[in-house]
Structures are given as structure tokens and as C-alpha cells.
Assembly symmetry: C2
Homo-oligomer: 342 residues x 2
């Protein structure tokens, strides 16, 4: 874009293609399967929308901050797209496509090739084609910024603000595995505790590196949830945000929060406390509230979609932060609910 340092716009074909241009064409053009991507030959893409709203979300991941420098490029690609797909799912929308900004120190084919291949696989699997992008040079850490699009019928995006007293609180999958995976990768207590259990360690690592967004549940969320969001910054903190915007509170049964066998074992051995799990990040599960008369239909829809669902508490009136109770009915006061980096 400047005479000083060039941007390689993926949507632009360059004259007498340089090595970089042909790399971009070779690796990213096959991902641009949507007709509105114009084969990455134009300045912009066009999204069709007939009787729908386009849901827009954006999330960036930075090397050394949101992923580790030695994370494999294929997992970095999947994480970059999936953190956005998770937002699309939580809003009750179906994926429509995405644009990609890649900030690279250089064009390393050994990195780009598996990155693009995995991104293409996920784009195909989730029905979310590449629509365009921009590749820029940076002297700093690798950064991938994705803006993803979804479609919902007009006015039907599911908000954070619709929770009502009496609604049940649900969460998908299991909570805290990614935080444990990160602890392991950083050589924390989990690494020591699982030194002799490579399978468990690998599984936790994959939970950190490769989220499993719950797009299969999107239609059910749209049909039944009064409020929803994805859990990215810690279940406790994210629930607190949902309650704040909805103007309500909640009571949560700690024993009902779904844990994987590995996580449950690490808690029971005292390796980590429950806070590590419910105030840890990177779960990318769906947190939602459902009115009593919809609970059965919602649970049935989740079952049909093959998505594990747990009822973890109840929405209550009030403006206090959500309260967490243990199996004996004692309130557990959390020292932290999520993280702040700055």
C-alpha cells in the first residue's frame, strides 16, 4: 500500500507475478470458492443477502499472545477461523464466508502451505469460504485477523441481552480443557501432573490449539435461546457479561459445570482449582439461556445435532454478579472470573 512496504492484497492480481503473488494465488485462490469472491481477482467481494441479515464478527490472534510461536501452522489456521465461527454459531447464524488479514514477517512457503491447506479444509467443512484478504509485511509477531460473516433471517440474531429470570443456563461441551492445555504447553503444574500420560496431554493441547465451534447448534440456539454468547474469556466472566447486558443475575451449580475426565481428575488430585477451569479462556463453547417451556425442545435439538449440553444453573432477578454454589450449597467466591492483558 505504500512505497515503503507493500501490502499483497489477495484480491488483486499483480503484473508479472512475483514469487509472493504466485504463492498467494497458489495457496489462497483455491479457498475462494464463493462466486462473490470473484476468484480473488477484484478489490472487494460481494455478499448476497435476500431477506437475511449479515452477522459480522471479527477476532484476531497474535503469535506469543493468542497462540504459541511453536504451534503448528495448521492449528493456527484452524484457531484463527474457528474463534470467529464460534461467534457466528452463538448468534444463531449460518456461516457465509470470511476475509483474512495476514501480517507476516516474510513469505515462508513451509509455513504458508500447511496454514492455507488447513484453512481450506475448515472453510469447506464449515461452509465458510474465503472471500478476500490482505497480506501485509510486519517486523513484529505473526498476526491473523479474520472477519467472518453469517446469515440469519431478518432480525433473528440471538443477542446477549435477552436472558430473563427463570430461564435455565446451558453450556455446551466441557469447560476448562483449553486453559489446562495452555498450562501444559507452558510447563505449568499440568505438565508435571501429566508427565506420564501423553494421551491426556495431547488431548488437552489440542483443546487449546483447535477449538470445536458449535455451529451444529446454531439453528437450535436461534429457535430456542433467549440469550447466547460464546465462551472465550472464561465461563464465569462471560456469564457475568451476559447477565450484565441482560440486566439479570444467575445462580450456578459448580458441580453441574461439564468437565472432561482429564479435567475432573486434575481437580480431584488438587493439581488445579475450579477457578483455573471456569475463569480460563479459549473454551469456544456456547453459553445460553432458555425459557422453561423451551428447555425440552432445545435439549432434543442439541441431541439431534450431536452437541453435548449441560444445564448449569438458573437466571434470577437482580444486578449482582452471578453466584456459584458447590455441592453442599455453599457459595464459592471467585477471586477472578476472566483475564485482562493490558
Amino acid at each position: 500500500m505504500t512505497a515503503e512496504g507493500k501490502a499483497r492484497d489477495m484480491t488483486k492480481r499483480h503484473d508479472s507475478p512475483s514469487g509472493e503473488d504466485s504463492l498467494i494465488a497458489r495457496y489462497f485462490r483455491p479457498l475462494a470458492t464463493d462466486p462473490g469472491a470473484f476468484n480473488l481477482d477484484d478489490d472487494a467481494a460481494a455478499l448476497k443477502a435476500v431477506g437475511e441479515d449479515i452477522v459480522v464478527t471479527t477476532d484476531a490472534i497474535v503469535e506469543g499472545v493468542h497462540f504459541l510461536p511453536n504451534d503448528p501452522p495448521d492449528t493456527v489456521a484452524r484457531k484463527a477461523l474457528r474463534v470467529n465461527l464460534s461467534d457466528i454459531a452463538a448468534k444463531g447464524a449460518l456461516p457465509a464466508g470470511f476475509v483474512l488479514t495476514l501480517a507476516l514477517r516474510g513469505m515462508e512457503e513451509a509455513w504458508l502451505k500447511p496454514f492455507a491447506a488447513a484453512l481450506g479444509e475448515d472453510a469447506a467443512d464449515y461452509g465458510c469460504p474465503l472471500l478476500g484478504g490482505d497480506t501485509v509485511s510486519t517486523p513484529g509477531p505473526l498476526m491473523i485477523s479474520i472477519t467472518a460473516f453469517g446469515r440469519v433471517p431478518q432480525g433473528k440474531m440471538v443477542h446477549r441481552s435477552g436472558a430473563r429470570a427463570g430461564d435455565r443456563v446451558f453450556v455446551t461441551g466441557t469447560i476448562g480443557d483449553a486453559a489446562l492445555g495452555l498450562d501444559l504447553l507452558k510447563g505449568g503444574p499440568v505438565a508435571l501432573a501429566l508427565a506420564n500420560d501423553a494421551a491426556a496431554g495431547d488431548w488437552l493441547t489440542s483443546r487449546y490449539r483447535v477449538p470445536q465451534p458449535r455451529n451444529a447448534l446454531a439453528k437450535a440456539v436461534r429457535a430456542h435461546a433467549s440469550a447466547a454468547m460464546d465462551v472465550s474469556d472464561g465461563l464465569a466472566g462471560d456469564l457475568t457479561k451476559l447477565c450484565g447486558v441482560s440486566g439479570i443475575s444467575a445462580v450456578i451449580d459448580l458441580d453441574s459445570i461439564p468437565l472432561s475426565d482429564v479435567a475432573r481428575d486434575l481437580v480431584s488430585r488438587g493439581v488445579v482449582g475450579i477457578e483455573t477451569l471456569i475463569a480460563g479462556g479459549d473454551d469456544y463453547e456456547i453459553l445460553c439461556t432458555v425459557a422453561d417451556d423451551r428447555v425440552e425442545a432445545f435439549a432434543q435439538a442439541a441431541k439431534s445435532a450431536g452437541v453435548a449440553l449441560s444445564s448449569i444453573g438458573t437466571v434470577v432477578a437482580g444486578s449482582t454478579v452471578p453466584k456459584f454454589f458447590d455441592g453442599q450449597g455453599s457459595e464459592i467466591v471467585l477471586k477472578r472470573r476472566s483475564y485482562s492483558h493490558f
Copy 2:
């Protein structure tokens, strides 16, 4: 987003707002004037589209690469948005909104405040409200990635690929000022030549720092242009791209390329050559082709819109790169047409 380093999602309200959250709310929420931004209180925005296509473009700028570390924050904000507005204009679309990813080393209020204020002014002036965003921490250079949206009637986005032999080639504004401004800021030959002309230097600097996207011409481009793109990587190189995608070539009259008085003077004094101007970047003017029978109406529409327009050549059949001729009818062979950083 991870337990290691947190993202501050602008679309998310955090519990017991930290200083950073309230900074984001204070500076960016006022920019979220579109109802589909949901006051930045949700995971995603919703773009309405009735009988329209949503045009999507994305461009990132990196400190030290696309802007200089000592560029004022207000000009950085304007440049980040305007390079995207320029794409929207060239596609014949009207601005609909944008999402912002800010990668910051820290939350410096002294930087954020003027940045957000200028971004808000431009968003209002161009009718392009903030819809959402993500703020991430980076140990590296400041980076601003924007994805911007425009609206066009269904199927009416103007492409690069529509140029036909016989069409006239037009460009808006003046070409090369930004490249001269960058040369000046870097202490190159232009700095020396204009050492005693602060006004001219300031004007060139502003042309580099603050593009003037031609959104006023968007409707005329849509009504009359057979192909269009914005000039961001150098007029010669960008025209070559347009010709390549359209499957045609062009002959350009170098004397017809619009230059500012300052640029013309620097060329005539031998401070810079014409290549510096037409292979330099950051013009953010519109390059387009118009069929003969539309030329008069297009010129009239540009005049009504108050956008300076120059006819610089003719589209011809063939697959060679565009040729440039001087006033004596001699072909000038360019050593370079645009830049590649990687």
C-alpha cells in the same frame, strides 16, 4: 482470548470494567451509531441488506511499514479507514460501516483519544459507522486492520474485469503526491528540494498521511464505468492489473497524467522522475474505464460531484502490459510499475 494474553473485544462488555474496558467504551462506543452495532454490547453486528449486495473489503496498515512511527494518531486513524473507503468507492458502492481490529502494545490514552476522535469524525463524514471490533495486545508494531462494507444494488458492483477495447481510461485527482510526501518524511531528495517551502512540504505530507477517497464519485462510477479499481500500489502497476483481469491492454499519454503543481515542479527540476510518481503508492484515486458513449455523462457526473477527473489514455486489444508515451510520441519503458515488499 487466551488465558495468556487477553483480547479486549469491543463488542463485549466486561464485568467490573477495568480501565481498559472503560477506555474502549468511552472512545469507541460513540462511533457505533448504527443500530446494527448494538451499542458494541454483543458478540457480533448485524448488517441489513434489502435488495442489495454487501461489498466487503479489507486493508491493514502496519506501523513502520504503511505509516511512520511518528505519524500523528489522528492521521493514522483516517488513513486506516480511508484506504478501505477508497476500495468501496471504486466498486461503485456506498459506505455501510466497518469493523476495526487494533493491535496495540498497551492502552495509551494519549494515543487512543485522538485516534478515536478522528476515526469518529471520518466515520460520520463518510457515513460509515463502526459496527464492532477487537483490540489485541501485541509486543510488535501497532497495526490497524479494517474490514469495510458498502452497499450496491444486486449484481451492480463495478469490477476490474469489464474494460473493453476503445474505452477511455480515467483517473481522479492527482498522482504521485503521496509518494513524494513519503520521500520527504524519510529525508529523501524531496526533503532537500523543498527545504525552503514548508507549505508545499506540508501539503505533500498530508497527501501521504491522509488519503482523499473519492466516495463522491461512487454513483457515477457505478452508472458509467466498465471497470474500476482504486490506485493504491502505483498507477502503472494498478492499471496493469486492471488490464490483465480484463484481458486487454492500454496506451497512456504520460503528459495527460494529472500532477499537482508541486509534483510537476519537482519533475521539471529533475528532483524526481515520472516513475517515482506513477509507480509510487498511496494515491487512493479511482482508476476506471468508460465506453465512448458514456464519457460525456461520466465527465458531467464527476463535475457535479466536485471530483477532478483526467482522461489519460485508451483501452486497446491485446495482452501486453500497458504502454506509456511521452509528448513526442516516444514510448517510455518503465523500470518498475509498483512495489513488492516481501
